[in-house]
């Protein structure tokens, strides 16, 4: 979105609160109509898939969290930004509906109490709760449990990787808890923080870097938090990584790199890359995880599993790209955000399932144990 006149052609983004609908101005060479079409159709497909997001009765016991809590957590995290930041009211409305649906599925947060009673040391209930707590959706009983669990010395035991720890720290700050470690120190030990040689990135490391960025910038809300050296690192190498994964037709990771591009203090945008991702989006709005083949299997559940993550990422990245360069921390009027908005990081539910060994945050590792 652009300045006071959304068709003024300026590259300076307006505060999100203005929400000029249907702007046609070109943002950083991008095609706003294309971005809005991609986000809108992706959300409509997701909206039609609500039944697949619904949590089963055995969600706290036997259900596979990769197919239950993880998709729902992603839905909440990514639609929250869209519902507060997208310039188009119709897109915000769709996202708002999905976000509210996700909260309802948690039974107003009571779900997290059940999960914590089952696994007091698990981080994922705290991370998922943080998504909602950030917006002011809270559950007093759950908060009591969380304060106890996160106050234990055992909570400070290192997580399986530093990127995941950033996600936990994010949740702590979103909820208003003391942080169990220093964010900057943990960041310095991640692939992003140590500025790994860019030619060493494999798929797993790539997901690590994208999520380092998401946690650091609070999922694109606080781009100014990016230290200059890391911003320069990403400015240099994201174009290369984006190209690599577009060529591999791994659309969820391509979408994540496009989102990362929009998280830089000065966003780097690639209109041609957006056109390539758009070409991968099916007419129904879904975006396959990889390739051009239709999702395996005829039934809805298969299509959901094959597409939900890439489709969510597409809507999220298109929103970030659309917002442009100017808005800062999450103070938009549509966000209740009662807590300090200057909190980096966020839980990182992620569709790259454990079977792909992507080091993505999400409930799978602990919930499955």
């Amino acid at each position: 979105m652009t300045g006071a006149d959304p068709r003024g052609g300026t590259a300076v983004a307006a505060p999100a609160r203005e929400h000029p609908d249907g702007g046609t101005a070109d943002v950083h060479g991008l095609d706003p109509a294309l971005l809005d079409s991609m986000a809108g159709s992706a959300l409509r497909w997701l909206d039609g898939m609500r039944d697949c997001f619904r949590l089963p009765a055995d969600v706290t016991t036997d259900a596979d969290p990769n197919l239950t809590l993880k998709p729902l957590g992603e839905l909440a995290e990514l639609t929250h930004l869209i519902r507060t930041r997208h310039p188009r009211a119709d897109v915000r409305t769709l996202a708002e509906g999905l976000f509210a649906f996700a909260w309802e599925e948690t039974r107003g947060g009571a779900l997290f109490g059940d999960l914590l009673r089952g696994e007091p040391r698990a981080t994922y209930p705290v991370e998922l709760y943080g998504v909602f707590a950030r917006t002011g959706l809270r559950h007093p009983g759950v908060e009591e449990l969380i304060r106890t669990a996160t106050g234990l010395r055992g909570w400070r035991v290192a997580r399986e990787d530093h990127t995941r720890t950033l996600g936990v720290l994010n949740a702590e700050r979103r909820i208003g808890l003391p942080e169990h470690a220093d964010f900057a120190e943990v960041l310095a030990m991640t692939g992003l923080g140590c500025r790994s040689e860019p030619w060493t990135l494999d798929r797993k490391a790539a997901y690590g870097v994208t999520h380092d960025v998401f946690h650091l910038t609070d999922w694109g809300r606080a781009r100014e938090r990016m230290p200059a050296d890391l911003a320069e690192y990403l400015r240099l190498w994201v174009p290369s990584w984006l190209e690599c994964w577009l060529e591999e037709e791994l659309w969820d990771l391509a979408g994540e790199w496009l989102a990362v591009s929009a998280c830089l203090p000065v966003p780097v945008q690639d209109p041609a890359a957006w056109r390539r991702l758009a070409a991968a989006q099916a007419p129904d709005g879904s975006v396959p995880e990889s390739g051009t083949e239709p999702p395996p299997g005829p039934d809805e559940a298969d299509a959901f599993t094959a597409c939900y993550h890439s489709t969510l990422v597409t809507a999220f990245a298109a929103t970030l790209a659309r917002i442009g360069a100017a808005d800062g921390s999450d103070t938009a009027p549509h966000s209740p955000a009662p807590h300090s908005p200057s909190l980096p990081h966020g839980p990182a539910p992620h569709g790259a399932a454990a079977t792909r060994n992507t080091a993505m945050e999400g409930p799978e590792s602990e919930a499955a144990s």
């Binding site: 500025r195 040689e197 860019p198 030619w199 240099l236 190498w237 290369s240 690599c244």
Partner: protein, 238 residues
């Protein structure tokens, strides 16, 4: 040579042999270098091999230009004849690609700079554009630049090198992509250009990247050649 490498065309086998000799010379081994020693002039594909390698056929002479151009010895006379044959037989046609034009100009420039003057004069320099070095998207630029890595040679101050010097970040992005694709030849060529640049981003890790490419590529002589040139001429990756 060709007999030892079944399934490889004689030309590629000859090119590999010469590249190996050049790399060895750049690493400081094998005694003094002469193109006509590593490439017998009576070899049928000798002119083609020189044309393929371009300026690299003469790269070891850049180590000691005075010795190479000090006077026409038997060896330099033989080298001059080899290069002249290549320039004559494989002059770019009207529809030649930019890569073909520039590799020809690279060989010609190296001959002028590194061999004793040809009494008959060297062939004329064909016109070649540089606009693409400013306008190519980085993946295409990187691909072309890697094919022209033989022009990354001290003393060959071509407009091509000047153009590429303005695109260091993009060449570095190409290096990253090439390594990820395990395209070691492209990576090595780009690494060589980057070694010649003064403003390579530190975070690229060029020195370890060049070593990595050499080790991962196994025994590809042209990869070894580029990595050796980067080390010997520009002090990178060694």
């Amino acid at each position: 040579m060709a007999e030892q490498a079944q399934g490889i065309s004689p030309l590629s086998a000859v090119v590999a042999d010469v590249a190996q000799g050049v790399a060895l010379a750049l690493r400081g081994g094998g005694g003094s270098y002469a193109l006509s020693d590593v490439l017998p002039p009576d070899e049928a594909v000798a002119p083609a091999a020189v044309r393929v390698l371009g300026a690299d056929a003469l790269a070891p002479y850049a180590l000691d230009r005075a010795a190479a151009t000090g006077g026409a010895t038997d060896r330099t006379t033989a080298d001059r004849a080899l290069v002249r044959a290549a320039l004559t037989a494989f002059a770019p046609g009207a529809d030649a690609s930019e890569v073909s034009l520039w590799s020809y100009r690279g060989l010609l420039a190296a001959a002028r700079a590194l061999l004793p003057a040809d009494p008959d004069g060297w062939p004329p320099e064909p016109p070649a554009a540089t606009a693409w070095t400013a306008t190519d998207p980085w993946p295409k630029l990187a691909h072309r630049a890697s094919q022209l890595a033989s022009l990354a040679l001290p003393g060959l101050d071509t407009p091509l090198a000047a153009g590429l010097a303005e695109r260091t970040d993009d060449l570095a992005r190409g290096f990253v992509r090439a390594v990820r694709r395990r395209d070691w030849l492209q990576a090595a060529g780009l690494g060589r250009w980057l070694a010649s640049a003064a403003d390579v981003p530190d975070t690229l890790g060029l020195d370890s990247g060049l070593v990595f490419v050499r080790q991962m590529s196994g025994t590809q002589p042209r990869v070894a050649l580029h990595v050796a040139a980067a080390a010997r001429f520009y002090g990178r990756g060694s």
